[in-house]
Amino acid sequence: MKELVCIVCPRGCRLQVDEENGYAVTGNSCPRGAEYGKNELQHPTRVLTTTVRVTGGVHSRLPVKTSTAIPKALLFEAMEMANAICVAAPVQPGQVIVENLLGTGADLIAGRGIAKG
C-alpha cells in the first residue's frame, strides 16, 4: 500500500494505492483521482509549462505548455528542446509551436498571443 497526495486539483486528496491489488485507489473524491493514483505509480506524467524565445513581439518570452501530460522522465529533455526554440511574432493563442514533442504525442502550444511590437 502506497500513500500519495493527489495533484489533480487543489483539494489534495490523500490517496492509498494498493500495488498488489491492481493499483486499486482509495481516498479519492473523484474518478480523476483514481486515474492519477493508478498512473502515478506505474508511469507518472506531468504537463510541462515553460517559455520560449520570441522575436519581434511586444514581449521577448512566450509562455508554452504541453497539450497533454508527458512522461515525467522526459521533462528535462523537453526543457532542452524548448530552450532551443525561437518563434517570430505575431503568435496566436493556442498556436502549435512544436508538434508531437519528443514523440510523446503531445504538442507544445502557445499559452497566449503575442502581437508584433
Binding site: 495533484i7 487543489p10 514581449h59 509562455p63 505548455k65 499559452g111
Partner: protein, 431 residues
C-alpha cells in the same frame, strides 16, 4: 469631466470579472484603469497550469485563464485605460458620484467621475522577512514573484544555486521553475511547522525534484560581498526562535523570499474605508461593498486567495452589486447588520458583516483557520451559542482557504452575532 457609471481600479482577474459582470447586469458606461501595459495582472507571469478547474472545468495556465476573461471583455463595450495609475479616490457625499484621480504618460492627470467604484488592486509580496534576516546585504535576494517576472516575462535567470525562504505557493512554483531551467534548488525553508502552500504544490514542485522542505527552520545568516555566497539555516523552537547548534550552511548565489502577500490598500485607506486588521483589506458586506456606499472591493485587495477561481466568483458578486447600486438598489444606511465573529481556530472571515435583509438565497463566507487540524467541524453559532449549521472537513490548514455557504433564511433569523469556529473531533470519533 468624464463620467462613468462604474470605474474599476485594476485590470487583473478581479477587475476583469467585476467589469464583465457589471456589463452583463446592464451597465453601459464602465471603465477599467490598469497601471500595466496590458490586462491580466499577475496571471501573465504565472505560466504554470492549475488555474480554472472550478471555473472552466479544465486546467489552464495563468495567461490562458486571463485570456478567457480578456476575450469576454472584448465582447462588451467596457473601456480600458492602460499604463494608468490611480492616485486617489475621493468618495462622493450622500450618494454623489465618486471622483477618481489618475495619471498616465499619454493623457496626463485625469479626474474622472463614477457612481460606483470597484477596488481590484490585488496584493504585493511581503518583504519584511528580508529586513529581519541578519547578515550582509549582497545582490541575489529576490521576492519569489519578482524572480518569476524576470524569468517568465523578461527571460532572465536570476541564479544557479537557490535557497527559498517561505513555503508559500509562489515560492514552491518557483522552486520547480528554476529547477526545470537548470538551477539547483538546495532547500525550501519554512518558519512554521506546516507549509503555507497547497499540498499539491509541495508534491509536484518539491517532492518531484527531491527538493528538501525544512519545516520549523529559518535563515539566520546571509554572507556575500557583491553577490550572495552562503546562507545559514537554523531550526526554530516552538517560540520560533533559532536553536543554537542546529545551523546548516548552504553555498548558494540566490535567495528567494516567499513569505506572504499583503493586500495593496493605499487607495482604500486614503478614501476612508473601514479596514480589517486581520485581512489588511477593507471590511466588506456580503455584496462586497465597503463601509463607503458605492465603493466595492474584490479579489486579493480584500483578502489573499489561494485560487483565482474564487477571485473571479467573488469579483462577479462585486460587479453585480455595483451594477445594482448604480441602478438604484442601494442599501439603507439604517439597514440591519449582523457581525460574523471569529471563534476558536478562525483567523478572519470575509464578509465581516452581513446585512441580512439585503442577502440573497445564500451568503458565501470565506475564511482561514489558524492551525492545522485533522477531521473537524466548522461550527456556525448564533449569539446565544445555539448551533445554526455545521460543515464537515477531513482536514484544515491555514494555507488552504475555506468557504461555506450560509442559507439566507438562516442568516435572517439569526439572533445576535454569528460566530464561526473550528471544533476538532476528539480522539477521531465521528460527530
Amino acid at each position: 469631466m468624464a463620467t462613468y457609471e462604474l470605474i474599476v481600479v485594476g485590470g487583473g482577474p478581479a477587475g476583469l470579472a467585476a467589469a464583465c459582470q457589471a456589463w452583463e447586469k446592464g451597465l453601459r458606461h464602465i471603465l477599467i484603469l490598469e497601471r500595466d501595459s496590458e490586462l491580466g495582472g499577475i496571471l501573465n507571469q504565472c505560466i504554470h497550469s492549475g488555474f480554472g478547474l472550478q471555473r472552466f472545468r479544465e486546467e489552464l495556465t495563468g495567461p490562458e485563464y486571463a485570456g478567457r476573461f480578456i476575450e469576454m471583455l472584448g465582447d462588451t463595450g467596457v473601456e480600458t485605460r492602460l499604463d494608468t495609475m490611480v492616485l486617489q479616490i475621493v468618495p462622493g457625499k450622500d450618494g454623489a458620484p465618486h471622483q477618481v484621480h489618475a495619471v498616465s504618460a499619454k493623457e496626463g492627470y485625469q479626474v474622472l467621475e463614477a457612481q460606483a467604484v470597484v477596488l481590484a488592486m490585488g496584493c504585493r509580496e511581503r518583504t519584511r522577512g528580508a529586513i529581519s534576516i541578519p547578515g550582509e546585504r549582497p545582490s541575489g535576494i529576490f521576492t519569489a514573484g519578482a524572480a518569476q517576472r524576470y524569468l517568465n516575462i523578461e527571460g532572465y535567470m536570476v541564479g544557479r544555486r537557490v535557497v527559498i525562504l517561505g513555503s508559500g505557493d509562489i515560492g514552491l512554483i518557483m522552486a520547480r521553475r528554476m529547477t526545470l531551467e537548470g538551477a539547483k534548488v538546495l532547500a525550501c525553508v519554512e518558519l512554521m511547522p506546516y507549509s503555507g502552500g497547497l499540498m499539491r504544490n509541495i508534491v509536484q514542485c518539491l517532492q518531484d525534484f527531491d527538493i528538501p522542505l525544512y519545516l520549523s527552520h529559518t535563515i539566520t545568516d546571509i554572507k556575500g560581498h557583491d553577490r550572495v555566497e552562503q546562507v545559514t539555516v537554523s531550526e526554530v523552537g516552538p517560540d520560533r526562535r533559532p536553536i543554537p547548534g542546529t545551523e546548516m550552511v548552504f553555498d548558494c548565489d540566490t535567495v528567494l523570499l516567499s513569505v506572504g502577500l499583503i493586500p495593496e490598500n493605499e487607495l482604500t485607506r486614503a478614501a476612508g474605508a473601514d479596514m480589517d486588521r486581520r485581512t489588511s483589506g477593507a471590511r466588506v458586506y456580503e455584496n462586497m461593498e465597503t463601509s463607503i456606499p458605492g465603493i466595492f472591493a474584490c479579489g486579493n485587495v480584500v483578502h489573499v486567495h489561494d485560487l483565482v477561481d474564487y477571485v473571479s466568483a467573488e469579483s462577479e458578486r462585486a460587479g453585480a452589486a455595483a451594477a445594482a447600486y448604480v441602478q438604484g438598489k442601494r442599501a439603507e444606511a439604517t439597514a440591519r447588520t449582523l457581525e460574523l465573529k471569529n471563534g476558536d481556530g478562525v483567523s478572519y472571515t470575509v464578509p465581516q458583516t452581513v446585512r441580512p435583509d439585503e442577502a440573497g438565497k445564500t451568503v458565501e463566507v470565506f475564511f482561514r483557520v489558524n492551525r492545522v487540524t485533522g477531521p473537524a467541524a466548522i461550527a456556525v453559532r448564533d449569539g446565544e451559542g445555539n448551533s445554526l449549521t455545521g460543515f464537515r472537513r477531513a482536514h484544515l490548514a491555514p494555507g488552504e482557504m475555506e468557504h461555506i455557504l450560509l442559507p439566507g433564511n438562516l442568516v435572517r433569523s439569526a439572533k445576535g452575532p454569528v460566530t464561526i469556529s473550528i471544533e476538532e473531533d476528539k480522539g477521531g470519533s465521528a460527530r
